[in-house]
């Protein structure tokens, strides 16, 4: 009850149920924004249990959700102007699809929560609407056997729920398909960038330190001039793997994500080298340094692109394992070789 988005409560035969509105306020939207930037993402959770959206009665539909607040907010926002019960499962603050994969959004948790919320007292019907992407964790026939409630799989996207419910629980064209549109891919970019930059911050001190030994000037001035450029090279590698690759994903050549990530990596490496050589305050890059950057930037970009498989909606574990068998050794070789070339170029 004592949560900022709860407004009032509804009296039911199973006790008081906290009420919520479908309209999201500034605080809800700010929360979503922060999570997209990886701020408090693993702690963005609500209390599991039954909630009343609007003014539901014993005949209102029951929708199942996860206790990741973004999942819950997307659901209630989609149900504007409707009365419904929302039963929130305890998924440790993980979204429906991922939690279903882990089994925390699962048959056991659903039947346990139906029981503990007293749902059978609150509604007259015996039907719950489960998001389709919850199906990897839920066995519909098992739930019916264990709880007496029939599972109806709703659409993939919460936004399609009104149409789905109004057409007698029938999924229209496309409602059962998980897409991966440019907008969907872009929304995942900030979290990936933040994670990559955290790793970069650990490497940068070493990069600046080594750069101090470059050229003929003073140590500090060299560290800043050469190190600054090296940092730019690494930032461009992150941009290639975490931004350009996701945006251009459907059009980049290759099926393996590592392969897709190589093309933006090589492009960024060439761009970087031309910027490097156009800078008059620095001596032109020697052949060792010129060879180092494409290896480092393309290698890092391919690695980051490979890790985007987990964000994507169309990769299989068998495929990822097949890709990793050749891609991981290739990435390690490229980056290690590039690093050796770059460090050698400083000291020779």
């Amino acid at each position: 009850m004592n949560q900022p988005f709860v407004c009032g409560s509804i009296e039911t035969p199973a006790g008081k149920v906290p009420g919520v509105e479908s309209k999201l306020n500034f605080r809800d939207r700010l929360g979503t924004y922060k999570v997209r930037w990886a701020i408090g993402r693993m702690r963005y959770r609500i209390d599991p249990g039954l909630y009343a959206l609007g003014a539901p009665d014993a005949d209102s539909p029951v929708l199942i959700s996860a206790n990741f607040k973004m999942s819950f907010d997307l659901l209630r926002e989609a149900l504007a102007g409707r009365n419904a019960w929302i039963l929130v499962l305890d998924t440790d603050g993980i979204n429906v699809w991922c939690a279903a994969g882990k089994g925390t959004f699962g048959t056991d948790e659903l039947t346990r929560m139906v029981e503990s919320s007293g749902l059978a007292l609150v509604v007259r019907h015996r039907r719950v609407i489960v998001p389709q992407l919850g199906a990897p964790g839920i066995s519909a026939h098992e739930v019916q056997k264990l709880s007496g409630f029939k599972v109806v799989y709703g659409p993939v996207r919460a936004a399609d729920l009104p149409e789905f419910m109004d057409s007698g629980m029938k999924a229209g064209p496309g409602m059962r398909m998980k897409t991966f549109t440019t907008g969907e891919r872009l929304s995942l970019v900030p979290v990936e960038m933040v994670h990559a930059f955290k790793t970069l911050l650990m490497v940068l001190p070493l990069v600046f330190l080594l750069s101090g030994f470059s050229g003929h000037g003073g140590f500090v001035s060299n560290a800043l001039r050469f190190g600054g450029f090296a940092a730019l090279g690494l930032i461009m590698a992150i941009a290639a793997g975490c931004l350009v690759t996701p945006v251009l994903l459907p059009w980049l050549p290759g099926k393996a994500f590592s392969l897709k990530g190589i093309w933006p990596g090589i492009t960024c490496a060439l761009l970087f080298l031309s910027m490097r050589n156009a800078t008059r305050s620095l001596p032109a890059a020697g052949w060792l340094e010129t060879a180092a950057w494409p290896l480092i930037i393309a290698g890092v970009s391919a690695y980051l692109a490979m890790n985007f498989t987990g964000c994507s909606t169309f990769t299989s574990l068998s495929g990822v394992k097949k890709e990793m068998r050749w891609a991981v050794p290739a990435q390690i070789t490229a980056v290690a070789l590039g690093a050796i070339f770059w460090i050698t170029s400083i000291f020779v």
């Binding site: 994969g101 992407l133 199906a135 998980k178 890790n307 498989t309 990822v320």
Partner: protein
Amino acid sequence: MGKLVYIKDVVTLQLDGEGCTGCAMCATVCPRAVFEISHSKARVADRDSCIECGACALNCPAGAVSVRAGVGCATAVINSMLGIKTSGCDCSIDQYELNEKIPAKGGGCC
């Protein structure tokens, strides 16, 4: 833009046509439109689109579908190999592979 498809000829999806009762639950839960129902039987119509999430196997009342379910996530594979338990979205591959008795779990990871 057509359907995005990952590496071909790798997935572990198996459908036992004999056991299928034609209830169409597999086609309902599949987010990749892998199944087609014709003449009251399910058929794997687009095998390479399968992401091995395991929803079909878990929701087949006849037990006619099987798949080695898991998350198609390189980070999870790396974390499992390095023994990292708590990072990012916390998926691990071991949970599927060590528990082969649990019929089907899986899904897209965060």
